[in-house]
């Protein structure tokens, strides 16, 4: 039997793509080497952020926001989306100047969702933040969702509509078979498919065929505290610091950022993991108390790690392979794919269904890593 679409990788991107492809009436097989959402999807802070996105990602992030608003209802399961706003703090005048320049640059490109606030307004909204913080960039309609709830909501909705899912089923190889089809050699037998979608996250680089990609594997680190008194509604980033911080409805403070642990046993899908780096956990926490001093008294409950694929320019690889017809990439989200997932999966599914959306995916084509492709500057991305 040949399925219409084989999706390699049962993380959030893969599960969204599966759900959306199934809605178009395509037959869908998801192939997951470990368990769904084992890596980057579980080591996500759940930020739904259009703030401070790379210029190329802004259209995606803004369009995704609209999907998040009705998502729980659409899937029939809560995803924990809260429109809390997102803020990027400035700790000095130089940061404020950078923010002003960014707002101006966005306006030139026709974007006005990022708003600058000064120190007084900041203190009124965040009484707990350190006195030296002097302003912030804000997107009010941003927010956060619950990564695990989101993953399971898509998983359930997919299974309920006929998506087939194989877990602990590693892919050993993908070969062309016959006219425009693929034979996928897996730990649970051969799977034949008309299209293959590469949603393999940290392992996405293994499935690019001849497409030129230089991806790095990162062990994302997440930390959560015991509940503290409510002090924070928006999700916080800080200019010039590796930090993302939010408080959940239950009062727990979730601290992430770009401090990485150590990828281990990456070649063994069941053993692959990230080991935490205690020194860099300490560095993350030092950043957190620098802007919220009272958190020094919070209790650290748990830290964990998952593996993610990081691209050299910080942008995902999204869209058809340039060398292999029928292969579509959606990986390398470089630790900020969560917010984009509901949209990206839909774009890939639409493309599978009707060939639509090639233009919107063009900036993220794997072709940009070709010898003649210009290198993009990573701008102000805080992951």
């Amino acid at each position: 039997m040949t399925v219409d679409v084989a999706i390699i990788g049962g993380g959030l991107i893969g599960l969204v793509t599966a759900f959306e492809a199934r809605r178009h009436g395509l037959s869908v097989q998801v192939i997951e080497a470990a368990r769904c959402g084992r890596h980057a999807s579980s080591a996500s802070a759940g930020g739904v952020r259009s703030l401070n996105r790379h210029m190329a990602e802004i259209p995606l992030a803004r369009a995704a926001l609209g999907l998040w608003r009705g998502l729980g209802q659409r899937l029939g399961n809560d995803v924990g989306f809260v429109q809390s706003g997102q803020m990027r703090l400035a700790e000095d005048a130089a940061s404020m100047a950078t923010f002003e320049a960014r707002v101006a640059r966005l306006a030139e490109a026709g974007w006005n969702h990022e708003r600058l606030i000064g120190g007084r307004q900041l203190r009124a909204r965040l009484p707990g933040c350190a006195p030296h913080c002097c302003g912030a960039l804000v997107v009010e309609e941003d927010g956060f969702a619950d990564p695990l709830a989101t993953l399971h909501a898509y998983r359930r909705a997919g299974l309920a509509t006929g998506v087939t899912l194989a877990e602990t089923c590693a892919v050993h190889g993908v070969a062309r078979a016959g006219a425009g089809g693929f034979a996928i050699d897996t730990a649970c037998g051969e799977i034949r498919a008309r299209h293959v979608v590469n949603c393999a996250g940290a392992w996405g680089g293994d499935l690019v065929g001849d497409d030129p990609v230089a991806m790095r594997t990162a062990a994302l680190q997440m930390i959560v505290t015991a509940p503290v008194a409510p002090f924070l509604a928006p999700v916080i980033g800080v200019h010039g610091r590796k930090l993302s911080l939010k408080q959940t409805g239950a009062g727990a403070v979730v601290i992430g950022g770009a401090f990485e642990g150590h990828p281990r046993e990456v070649r063994d899908p069941l053993a692959a993991r990230g080991d935490l780096d205690p020194g860099r956990i300490g560095a993350s926490l030092a950043n957190a108390v620098a802007v919220f001093p009272h958190l020094a008294q919070a209790r650290i409950l748990r830290a964990w790690s998952g593996l993610e694929g990081m691209m050299p320019d910080g942008l995902p690889v999204l869209g058809p392979s340039v060398r292999v017809p029928g292969l579509i990439h959606a990986f390398g989200f470089s630790a900020h794919g969560f917010a984009l997932a509901p949209l990206v999966g839909r774009m890939v599914a639409d493309h599978l269904h009707s060939g639509a959306g090639a233009g919107a995916m063009a900036p993220f084509s794997v072709a940009r890593f070709g010898t003649n492709a210009p290198t993009r500057q990573k701008e102000m991305s805080d992951a």
Binding site: D275, P278, G282, L285, A286, V289, P293, A296, Q297, R299
Partner: protein, 480 residues
């Protein structure tokens, strides 16, 4: 990372004390990390002070701390760097090393006892690690178990050993089964306390298993058997009402426990209670072996997962797991295992021949004796008490019904249940729910505990303050 120490021993109970002292005597420099304020672990808690005539009469202390005095003297003479009050935060095993060798260094993250030196969270690199983190009581899941006044008999034991305290006054009820329950009963009565009733939750019909294991047990450890017989005798003589074949245990009360209800031999009974001590045996504290991602196999006799070990207790190059933390055996087996692992560590460091000491033969015999205890006191089946309204995760207020509700539709393992219900996400890090959760899922789905698996354990092993991680220059001024 400044300097690499030869060996880090985690836990200063019988196993850890034996391992640390043996390794130090063999010439290794040894760091001994232990959470308690004084060496001895749970079984020899506060032994030093008690034996010096501190908290209890000398005759009682001699009985309670059999073997402790010699172990403590040996530690004191060994030159081991013993850090009392230190908390283990994380252990990172070397990345699958090509082979054993001194280059495989284990990174240990721990919290220093004192706040004086920031950061309190320290990292130590060790050429080898012996983990001896001991046992914990098996959580008993029944409605009302979370009420103040309901506690494991282990907690009653701790209060007795630490401060010579026993529960006094009316309304003290003990429920459960096993040697520690009997020991607690005997100690309470010896100290002049009163126990209103004992509710025997033990399974009837364990006698066939006992007959199978008793002969080897008697050969293996006559002393243990004699002490066990003495305890049983004392209970018979104590005049405490014993309710047998107890089912449907439930604790009642508004702000704290006021009564217990149960059915004994089919008859519904309700007793006033001010303190309910419960016990369903002890299981390995598996936090460390889970943190290390070791392979575990379910042991039906102990009703718990045990890490898979080599004969000398090795679980990875340079890492050993010994004592009750690797499989319940009691203090004497633990000490033997500690010795054995220390010999192996010495051999690996090129400081001694790689021979198994005489301990190996003794170990086999003592373990046979342990099987009798397991046969006498099999774990209380989950179905007998885990009613829908019983809390399985106290930290996050997750009830048995919440777990039952999410099972199915691919939610079939503890980590999925954790993601869906928050069971195991609280400050106890799954200590109180990991074992019952595996057993509950196994009972509900009909799959073996091995197929069900267990909760993943995340660092920090114990909650720590954020400021414990901070160096002085990053410490905010407002913090107290």
């Amino acid at each position: 990372m400044s300097k690499v120490i030869d060996l880090c021993v985690i836990g200063a109970g019988p196993a850890g004390l034996a391992a640390a002292a043996r390794a130090a005597q063999g010439g290794l420099n040894v760091l001994l990390l232990d959470e308690q304020p004084a060496a001895g672990g749970q079984v020899w808690r506060n032994a030093g002070a008690a034996l010096a005539g501190g908290s209890m009469p000398a005759a009682q202390a001699e009985k309670a701390y059999h073997g402790a005095a010699a172990a403590l003297r040996r530690l004191a003479a060994s030159g081991v760097d013993h850090r009392a009050g230190a908390t283990l935060i994380d252990i990172a095993a070397p990345e699958t090393a090509p082979g054993p060798g001194p280059e495989a260094v284990v990174e240990i993250t721990w919290r220093a006892p004192s706040r004086a030196e920031a950061p309190r969270i320290r990292q130590t690199a060790a050429g080898a690690v012996i983990c001896a983190t001991g046992a914990q009581e098996r959580p008993l899941i029944f409605p009302g178990a979370e009420l103040p006044g309901v506690m494991g008999v282990g907690a009653i034991q701790s209060a007795y050993k630490q401060s010579g305290l026993v529960p006094g006054g009316e309304g003290v009820v003990l429920a459960g089964h096993g040697p520690l329950l009997l020991l607690t009963l005997a100690q309470i009565r010896a100290a002049g306390g009163r126990v209103a009733a004992v509710l025997d939750l033990g399974a009837p019909g364990a006698m066939a298993a006992v007959a199978r294991t008793l002969p080897r047990a008697l050969i293996g450890d006559p002393a243990l058997m004699a002490r066990g017989a003495g305890l049983m005798l004392r209970r018979a003589l104590s005049g405490v009402p014993v309710y047998r074949r107890v089912t449907g245990l439930r604790a009642h009360g508004a702000d704290s426990i006021e009564a217990v209800s149960f059915s004994s031999a089919g008859r519904a009974t309700r007793l006033p209670a001010r303190l309910l001590g419960v016990h369903d045996g002890v299981i390995p504290n598996a936090q460390v072996s889970r943190l290390l991602n070791l392979r575990h196999v379910w042991d039906a006799g102990q009703g718990a997962f045990l890490p898979v070990r080599d004969t000398d207790g090795a679980v990875a190059p340079g890492i050993w797991l010994v004592g009750d933390g690797a499989g319940i055996g009691g203090a004497e087996i633990a000490a033997m295992e500690g010795e054995q692992a220390a010999r192996a560590a010495l051999a690996r460091a090129g400081r001694g021949p790689d021979v198994q000491g005489p301990a190996a033969r003794h170990l086999t015999r003592r373990r046979a004796a342990r099987r009798l205890v397991e046969a006498l006191y099999p774990p209380v089946p989950m179905g007998a008490y885990a009613t829908d309204d019983a809390l399985i995760c106290r930290c996050e207020t997750v009830r048995v019904a919440d777990v039952r509700a999410v099972l199915g539709t691919g939610i079939d393992g503890p980590n999925r249940v954790k993601a869906m219900t928050r069971c195991g996400m609280g400050p106890c890090q799954g200590r109180l729910c990991a074992n019952p959760l595996t057993r509950l899922i196994s009972a509900e789905t009909g799959r073996s505990p091995d197929a069900v698996g267990a909760l993943r354990i995340r660092p920090p092993l114990k909650p720590v303050l954020l400021m414990d991680y901070l160096a002085p220059e990053t410490m905010p001024e407002v913090s107290a």
